[in-house]
């Protein structure tokens, strides 16, 4: 499809968001705001141990309490529901099975063991405290190394070991490159456990209609249709007996994708009791038991020549996946390995991916499931520069793909096209004025601060097509579905299978429809989040919203415009082949006469009236109505790119990292709505910085979660984050509708890398390297102290 983005009239406008009015006036509608008369309230009883056998669950005292309707355990729920079996045909991945509630043993602190239902949440809480569970505690494994030790206690008794997934790959001859190399540079990267922490925790309201045998599930979910399929399957219902309705969502970031056991319990109890049931977890549960993410350790070994050129790269990643598999365990780490080389010219490459089960909350994708990728790659470049005494900017230049290299096939077979890493990198270098910072670094040895500059170039995999899923060994489809309906009055309704969780989809997606159809954005309403209304699509994950969702809507709207013009041609008495000389613009049918577009007497409304109310006037072969649907499977993978630059000052006395300046040059192709895109860039960078600097899920050696409040799990506040300078670049994709490429996760990837690279640039004169996050004052101060001790072993005793 040839698209000249210069001609767009609706796509690219900085329109304010439609959601804002309701959200700014307290009229938003989140799950907890939906009143369902007579609904029972659920509270879960959770394991206080990291690993233990359940000996007995005594519910007598709880049931005695006034207002308690029932207490249900694994024995009940597992009889009423089917387990989750994950056994995709992926080499090296062990099949797993998870029941709805555990019966034999609990596997992490927070594992749900019983559900209490009562007439109000206070009573349910009281009753939950009276449920007496007796446990025999077991030894817990709380990190990947311990989990993979030969005699480690097993997290999942059904598996022969805790190594739930392992894959390896090699292209070219990295071992041979190592032998030929001028130097071999090794580097390590430890990413700590984090959690999504959406401001709205999980929750749902389930309503069972006994007369129709139908379940309606009100739940904030990023993927309404796949969730419906899961619910139906686990409950033994048909997909026609389940409706999923997603109201406003207070943030998801990947946490609201899986069907969690608690939600399934609520649905099952609703059906069992034939009464509506609601559940809203508290923050402790959310931090402890919803979903965690990111914990992995990476090692790289780069074989390089004198100039720092990478001749070969070897990569190992080991992920701590927690206790349960809500996703195939290879899912996140394998993608890191597949796209690691990103913007750099590397041919000889090998990886090994290992995923271990541990006695912690199960992991899942969190905004940028492949978050660590760019830190590892650009951190490796910095390690090369340090070891060889080269300028890190020059080492990047030596290895960076140039415009002439595209399309570029990565060693894993992934194809990069229509991206501009060299351009974003040079733009960022120019904007920060590297030599001025180097001069400052030379001059400011003695004011108690160390200055550092870090770069991180990101190639962000945004939109996964079905072919990528297949080649990455991930079960799933990448297609999306849409319909566009022009009603008899000419009003335009549209729908898509996505569901936003705060991004602000309603406006940009309406812009995509308006552009494709030839109407104003104000004329279009996009309906999402209701499985009986929206077509079956794969929902919102990754950064697929714009390319898969916006792209499908745009194509569908173009098809609708074609239909409108076919009818218009007939009404105007033109030959049907003449639609090429017609177009719809601002709801008017226009005709090209002598290279100029002129209004005809027809409007969209006239054509709609004919289509619905005068179908005998339609040309042959054109069906009545104006209702167009389509599905679309994007290319195997769409990539955006960016370069982040971060300048930090480290206070040597305290170890505190202060961000002085933050800048990103980003190329995400055609932008549907720059207001929304800018918000996504800011939000993603903020999440990356917050994670790299402050957040950390902490378990003690027995598997106790020590970070289950916002006083312990620290999110960055307004005082810790800087303003972000954003340089826009624009290389539309030639492979996707309207040239859209997507974004929203790369900011996390770049931020993690840029801030850590900046810290290491600042620490370089001391000869120490920060290779783990969070970059807390304690950690940084410890590194500085170790450097001081090496320099003056006697003076510093502590």
């Amino acid at each position: 499809m040839t698209v000249d983005s210069e001609d767009f009239t609706e796509i690219g406008k900085p329109l304010p968001r439609r959601e804002d009015r309701r959200l700014l006036t307290g009229q938003g509608r989140f799950v907890d705001d939906i009143a369902i008369p007579g609904a029972l309230h659920a509270v879960f009883v959770r394991s206080p141990h990291g690993h233990a056998r359940i000996r007995e669950i005594d519910t007598v005292e709880a049931l005695e309490l006034d207002g308690v309707v029932g207490v249900f355990t694994g024995k009940d729920l597992n009889a009423w529901t089917n387990p989750l079996r994950l056994a995709p045909p992926i080499e090296g991945l062990l099949p797993t099975k998870m029941t709805t509630l555990p019966e034999g043993k609990v596997r992490f602190h927070g594992d749900p063991v019983a559900c209490v239902l009562a007439v109000d949440p206070y009573t349910a809480e009281d009753a939950a405290e009276r449920v007496a569970v007796t446990y025999d505690t077991l030894e817990a494994v709380t990190d990947a190394a311990a989990a993979l030790a030969p005699d480690a206690p097993r997290v999942d008794d059904d598996l022969e070991s805790n190594l739930v997934s392992r894959q390896s790959f090699s292209a070219g001859a990295p071992a041979a490159r190592r032998r030929e190399a001028h130097a071999v540079v090794e580097a390590e990267f430890h990413q700590h456990r984090q959690t999504h922490a959406p401001m709205e925790t999980r929750g749902c309201v389930a309503v069972w209609d006994e007369g129709r045998k139908h379940l309606t599930m009100h739940i904030g979910t990023q993927i309404p249709h796949p969730l419906r399929g899961q619910l139906a399957g686990r409950l033994g219902l048909s997909e026609s007996q389940v409706t999923v309705v997603s109201p406003d969502i207070g943030g998801g970031f990947g946490q609201k994708i899986a069907l969690y056991r608690e939600e399934l319990v609520i649905a099952a109890l609703t059906r069992h009791l034939k009464r509506s049931v609601r559940w809203r977890e508290d923050r402790l549960e959310n931090l402890m038991a919803a979903s965690h993410a990111r914990e992995n350790t990476c090692r790289t070994r780069a074989s390089v020549d004198r100039s720092g050129r990478i001749l070969g790269l070897e990569f190992e990643i080991t992920e701590d996946f927690g206790a349960y598999c809500f996703y195939p365990a290879n899912y996140m780490s394998r993608v890191v390995a597949m796209i690691l080389t990103g913007p750099y010219r590397i041919r000889d490459y090998a990886y090994e991916v290992k995923v271990a089960l541990t006695n912690k909350c199960g992991s899942g994708p969190m905004r940028a499931p492949m978050a660590i990728t760019s830190w590892v790659m650009d951190g490796t470049i910095d390690a090369i520069a340090r070891q060889l005494g080269l300028d890190p900017v020059e080492v990047r230049r030596v290895n960076m793909l140039s415009p002439a290299d595209f399309p570029h096939t990565m060693p894993t077979g992934e194809v990069l096209e229509d991206i501009s890493p060299a351009e974003t990198f040079e733009a960022a270098v120019k904007a920060v004025d590297v030599s001025a910072i180097r001069r400052r670094q030379g001059a400011t040895c003695d004011d108690g601060r160390l200055i550092g500059l870090g770069f991180c170039t990101v190639v962000e995999s945004t939109t996964y097509g079905s072919h990528f899923y297949k080649s990455a060994g991930i079960a799933g489809s990448g297609h999306e579905a849409a319909w566009v309906r022009i009603e008899p009055s000419g009003a335009v309704n549209a729908s898509v299978g996505l569901m936003g969780s705060g991004q602000g989809y309603e406006t940009p997606l309406a812009q995509a429809v308006a552009e494709g159809l030839g109407v104003g954005t104000d004329d279009v309403r996009v309906h999402m989040g209701h499985t009986d209304i929206a077509p079956y699509g794969m929902g919102s994950r990754g950064s697929r919203g714009a390319t898969a969702g916006g792209g499908t809507l745009y194509l569908c709207a173009r098809k609708a415009q074609e239909r409108v013009l076919t009818i218009a041609a007939a009404v105007l008495g033109l030959n049907s082949a003449d639609t090429a000389s017609l177009r719809l613009r601002d709801r008017r049918v226009q005709r090209r006469i002598d290279d100029a577009w002129q209004d005809t007497e027809l409007t969209l409304r006239d054509v709609a009236r004919t289509a619905y109310l005068d179908p005998t006037a339609l040309p042959e072969g054109v069906p009545p109505g104006l209702d167009v649907a389509m599905t679309y499977d994007p290319p195997p993978m769409t990539y955006s790119n960016a370069t982040h630059a971060c300048i930090v000052a480290i206070e040597t006395a305290t170890g505190r990292v202060v961000i002085e300046r933050y800048l990103v040059a980003e190329d995400c192709g055609t932008v549907l709505n720059p207001v929304v895109v800018r918000g996504q860039q800011q939000g993603a960078i903020a999440m990356g910085l917050s994670g790299a600097l402050f957040e950390e899920v902490v378990y003690d050696a027995s598997g106790q979660n020590m970070s289950a409040t916002f006083a312990d799990y620290l999110l960055a506040t307004a005082c810790e984050l800087p303003n972000f300078e954003i340089l826009h670049m624009n290389t539309p994709s030639r492979q996707t509708p309207a040239g859209i490429k997507g974004m929203a996760e790369g900011g996390v990837m770049g931020a993690i890398g840029a801030v850590t690279n900046a810290v290491n640039d600042a620490l370089a004169p001391l000869g120490v390297v920060a290779n783990r996050q969070p970059l807390s004052p304690q950690y940084i101060r410890g590194l500085i102290r170790s450097a001081e001790n090496t320099k003056n072993p006697r003076r510093h005793g502590s």
Partner: protein, 161 residues
């Protein structure tokens, strides 16, 4: 524990006669007994600020306040902000500057700054960030919220944009 008390809550100028247990949180009373669901609960332990309301004009955490303590006090929630055309200057600035995404934290932020700007018409960016640090936002990175507060303040002082 479960004896109930009949109380009057004065919220946004309206009087709500409700019956509550002594332990009922103000946040629950507002949302469930008064039907004012604009006040959100993000942590229930006083850190996130989503539940912030005004009690006699001063910001307070509704999740750390019992409904019974509120007799004789004036409560203002998000539903009580804004003029006849719907938006206060701060609400308008939040929309103009794209100061919200999911909007879950937004009511607490609006309520906090409606009070703050009344007493501090000309805050610096550092002062705004300092006050805003009492409200967690997972979506925006705060930059646009700060810009919105600045813009609203300038507008309320009558300065041209």
């Amino acid at each position: 524990m479960d004896s109930r008390h009949d109380i009057e809550l004065s919220v946004n100028g309206d009087t709500h006669r409700i019956s509550v247990q002594a332990r009922r949180l103000l946040s629950d009373a507002l949302r469930e007994d008064c039907g004012l669901t604009g006040t959100h609960v993000g942590c229930e332990h006083g850190v996130c600020g989503a539940c912030t309301v005004l009690i006699d004009g001063r910001p307070a955490r509704a999740c750390l306040t019992y409904a019974m303590q509120m007799e004789g006090h004036e409560i203002t929630t998000i539903e009580g902000l804004g003029g006849t055309d719907g938006y206060s200057p701060l609400q308008q600035a939040m929309q103009d500057e794209h100061g919200l995404q999911c909007g879950f934290c937004t009511p607490g932020i609006l309520v906090t700054f409606e009070a703050y700007l009344r007493d501090n018409p000309d805050p610096t960016e550092d002062e705004i960030r300092d006050v805003l640090s009492g409200n967690l936002c997972r979506c925006t990175g705060y930059e646009n919220i700060v810009a919105a507060v600045k813009k609203a303040a300038a507008g309320m002082r009558g300065e041209p944009e």
